[in-house]
């Protein structure tokens, strides 16, 4: 019996996410809507090393705040459906801006793989990216790709299975917010730990979101355990 894996594809708009999705899934895909909203939901699948891998294409977003339906859909899928792996498609020619989303995925506590796409564009601009160092600092595997030429797809497939089998760590670096903020985070973590919410979500993440005055999370906490 093939084991099932769910992979979520995240990434900024214009990062080549759709191309990566098409490369991974080929013809096996179907399009629907996310429940309750009219944001398009694309799903597809492929088999690899005895796994049945289901790929969900999240809406293209720059961050994971609660400001737009796209961002809420992307965030809620990762939080509530808990995919086995999140693949973050990052535009190598625009690394700094794209990493903002990667950092937020890391905060969510998801297992993240960075698919470093558009390496050809970065190279044509003579950017030198130290892939190993990027992987080490972010605490997640990094797969260089040129999705438009279907390069790196096999590596990505292999890395997804490696992460699921625990052969490659993908838990992410620990992000420090500075002494003052960290002090408040740990104080709030303590308060949250005794609440039923802590059973579903990481208390640290909830604390960060409360400090960011994230409307959805504040609302969720107010409603108590009903979520």
């Amino acid at each position: 019996m093939a084991k099932n894996i769910t992979v979520a594809l995240a990434g900024n708009p214009n990062s080549g996410k759709t191309t990566v999705f098409n490369n991974l899934t080929g013809a096996r895909q179907h399009v629907g809507n996310w429940p309750g909203v009219t944001v398009e939901k694309k799903e597809g699948g492929f088999g690899h090393r005895g796994y049945n891998i289901n790929v969900v294409d999240l809406p293209g977003v720059y961050s994971l705040t609660a400001y737009s339906p796209d961002e809420v859909v992307a965030r809620n899928f990762i939080l509530k459906e808990e995919p086995d792996v999140v693949v973050d498609i990052v535009d190598a020619s625009n690394l700094e801006r794209n990493l903002y989303l990667a950092v937020q995925l890391l905060e969510l506590g998801a297992k993240v793989i960075i698919a470093l796409n558009m390496m050809d564009v970065a190279e044509s601009r003579k950017y030198k990216i130290n892939v190993k160092e990027l992987s080490r600092l972010m605490g997640m595997p990094v797969v260089p790709m040129v999705a438009s030429h279907n390069k790196g797809t096999e590596d990505l497939r292999g890395t997804i299975v490696d992460v699921v089998e625990g052969k490659v760590p993908a838990d992410g670096a620990y992000l420090e917010y500075g002494k003052d903020v960290e002090g408040e985070i740990s104080r709030l973590e303590g308060v949250i730990a005794s609440s039923p919410l802590a059973r579903r979500y990481s208390p640290r993440w909830l604390a960060i979101k409360l400090l960011e005055r994230d409307e959805e999370i504040v609302g969720m906490v107010k409603e108590g355990a009903h979520v």
Binding site: N14, V37, T38, N94, E96, Y177, D180, R213
Partner: protein, 434 residues
């Protein structure tokens, strides 16, 4: 701890941070993230020591220039419609003669079935299908502009003007998408965070002339404006945009007051569009029209044919025709076309095809000879079709996205009234000069 306690504790934390750091926690956290990234970048990324200005930067000096930006946008859009026209004519001729041949064969069949085939199905659906080439070519052109990164620039250029009308550049993207189809365009307003901005962007979207309205313009422009086809069709899109912008200004001032949202306009780098990408996007947008021709349009033209065959259609048309007399097209045939056009805009063309039993390429001439239309009538009719009640699918999506029958009814009402007034003004004032 109760949930209320948690909120209280969080408030204390926020106040504390504000006091000791003088900034919102939100900002402090975002700063920490950016700090983490920029630190990481120093170890990971090596850029060429003196980075030359990229080609993107150089091109942008011209494209997003304060003075040149809007003229460049208009020139490009004009080019798009010229391109659509010039290239599609031979394809349309082929399809037209293929359907002409088919209709000739069907006309040989006796009785009602032959009439249904020749007039209803081949005349009705065929006259819509012949406009598939310009629709697809328009979508190719729009996909190239989008995939290359130009449309993001257009939104950036418009940002300045959009602020003056109480919206911002992000509202411009759904407007451009409306050139394809208003339904996905209205869904795309979900990227607009501010609910009031979003509502106004939805309300004006029907003014953006969709692909289904293109056949009407082409059908009429081919005959009545043969020397300036591209220009006349371009004028429809331009008029639609001007009306949309004026309406946005009025709605924002009178109906949906309040602050407009702030955000940064992204400028993604220019990219060479790939052939596969452009064709895929063309197909994603365009295939809907082929599917509709085989389903919805097919059903409606058969219905129209049936009503016509049984003699029920003309009385319906004659009942409403006086309403459109001041606009210049108070004939029962055009009335029926407009009324059924609410089901789908392609039906306007399909109705003429069915009623006259001819292909879409020569509908214009028939309107001139049978109904006595002039170029002025044709232009008035085009404006009416541009502005009047969007199709039912668009009304449906407006209902779903605004979650309000009130706003949906508002759109239906204002578009109808405005369309009638504009068409009447054009026809009546134009008649004084022609």
């Amino acid at each position: 701890m109760s949930s209320e306690d948690i909120i209280q504790e969080a408030k204390q934390s926020l106040a504390h941070l504000k006091k000791v750091r003088g900034d919102d926690a939100e900002t402090l956290i975002a700063d920490a993230r950016y700090g983490f990234i920029s630190g990481l970048m120093k170890d990971v990324l090596q850029k060429p020591s003196v980075e030359r200005r990229t080609i993107s930067d150089k091109v942008d000096k011209v494209i997003i220039n304060r003075l040149l930006g809007i003229p460049i946008f208009l020139a490009l859009m004009y080019g798009v419609f010229q391109f659509t026209f010039v290239l599609s004519v031979p394809f349309m001729d082929w399809i037209d003669s293929a359907f002409g041949w088919l209709a000739g064969q069907a006309a040989g069949i006796d009785g009602w079935f032959g009439a249904l085939l020749a007039d209803g199905i081949i005349g009705g659906v065929g006259s819509v299908l012949i406009f598939i080439p310009p629709i697809f070519l328009l979508f190719i052109a729009l996909s190239i502009l989008e995939d290359s990164g130009y449309m993001a620039r257009a939104a950036f250029v418009m940002d300045h003007m959009m602020h003056k009308i109480g919206l911002h550049g992000r509202s411009f993207v759904p407007m451009i998408m409306g050139f394809g189809c208003n339904v996905p365009a209205i869904m795309a307003t979900r990227t607009i965070e501010n609910p009031k901005d979003r509502l106004v962007t939805i309300l004006i979207n029907p003014m953006m002339s969709c692909g289904a309205r293109l056949p009407i313009y082409i059908m009429l422009a081919l005959f009545f404006f043969s020397a300036h086809q591209g220009l006349v069709v371009f004028s429809m899109y331009a008029v639609g945009m001007v009306i949309a912008i004026l309406l946005a200004f009025i709605f924002r001032k009178r109906l949906v007051k309040g602050e407009s949202g702030h955000f940064v306009m992204e400028l993604p780098p220019y990219r060479m569009p790939t052939i596969i990408g452009v064709l895929t996007h063309m197909w994603e947008r365009g295939s809907v029209f082929i599917a509709r021709a085989g389903t919805l349009i097919f059903a409606v033209v058969v219905l129209i044919w049936l009503l016509d065959y049984t003699g029920a259609l003309e009385p319906i048309g004659r009942t409403f025709a006086p309403i459109f007399a001041p606009c210049g097209f108070g004939q029962w045939e055009s009335t029926v076309a407009v009324v059924f056009g609410v089901l789908a805009k392609e039906v306007v063309v399909g109705t003429f095809g069915t009623l006259f039993g001819i292909g879409g390429g020569i509908v214009g001439g028939t309107l001139a000879f049978e109904l006595g239309w002039s170029a002025l009538t044709a232009y008035s009719f085009m404006i009416f079709c541009l502005v009047s009640v969007p199709c039912v699918a668009t009304l449906g999506i407006i209902r779903r996205e605004t979650n309000s029958w009130k706003w949906t009814g508002f759109v239906a009402a204002y578009t109808l009234i405005l369309a009638w007034i504009l068409a009447t003004l054009i026809y009546q004032i134009g008649s004084l000069f022609v």
